[in-house]
Symmetry: C3
């Protein structure tokens, strides 16, 4: 049983892969069979397991969710009230409700059991730079 | 290892915070390192980790998801067929597919590792009052 | 502690229930208290806990998400770029971001603690047939 804090620096909205950082920590813990739980400790960023082969997928995901949940400068979002941190404030909370805050991944023989094309991402929803904390627990 | 059933009484759609009930149970179990799994045993309510500072966030979340998935009285939803429990029936199932049914949260030294602004919510999707069952497992 | 791979053959987009396969495996492992983690090892299919009483719910869920995330032949999706596997390629990735890739379910006395009306589904997002791998870990 072990835990580890990952800090992910973001420079604008988008997907940031951190598969290797987590995989290296899990490997150092030895050839165990375990459940790995990850939680992003913020309400304006998400965790995603997504395809890591073609970077167009990450761009398209961001484009889609920005259209589904546009900034509050968009007239269609004028009914929202929590806007004091700017036009990307409440949309970030909505995206963080819609996309995962926690993930649990089986670990067998010291390796995360992801599919061939699956990578681990932090999905940043805010425009300005942040340092995001993701806590991992091996259990 | 331990489990606990939480009953949350709801009076209409919206977010109901229950961070303190869960935190008190986890603290009573002692200073353990564990994974806490929660499941809502219904298909018309969800679990959310969300900001618990400004109540406007909760109102805005409900407003957004009600526009994304409006009642079946809305002409845009006329293609839905499962409507015998009323206009909020099938939209509640859709919201419960889109938002989490299960969450797993790391526990260290007997405390849930949530971020500073994160709280634990039941998101009720139905209009009439319900008693919702949320099962917690510490493992 | 134990793990098991489930293979689910799909013939087109839609929900495929596999509650019984998982429940039978969990029961064979004995009357344990555990956390069951499931992961679908693909980025174009999802896992859902949903109502298993009325099949109309499953049809309506598929109809809703197909309208929310239509094929890239739909003019509203013309901005998407990752389309080389066909018009259902990128929409499948979007749906797999929006709907769960992993689920964790409490197990008590050798039984999954699902609600009365809850079943376990693979949600296939691609049109052509696939064999989908879902890994289960009991821990």
């Amino acid at each position: 049983m072990s835990h580890q804090m990952f800090e992910i620096t973001t420079h604008g909205a988008g997907l940031y892969e951190f598969t290797n950082q987590v995989g290296a920590w899990v490997a150092r813990e030895g050839p165990l069979e375990a459940a790995l739980t990850l939680i992003v400790q913020h309400t304006s960023a998400s965790l995603l397991i997504q395809e890591n082969a073609d970077p167009e997928v990450q761009d398209d995901l961001q484009a889609y969710f920005n259209r589904l949940v546009p900034p509050t400068t968009n007239p269609s979002m004028a009914y929202l009230t929590h806007t004091y941190e700017g036009p990307d404030d409440m949309p970030a909370h909505i995206k963080s409700a819609m996309l995962p805050t926690t993930l649990t991944i089986p670990v067998i023989s010291g390796r995360m059991c992801l599919g061939t094309w699956q990578g681990l991402y932090l999905f940043e929803h805010r425009t300005r730079s942040h340092v995001r904390q993701v806590l991992g627990l091996l259990r």
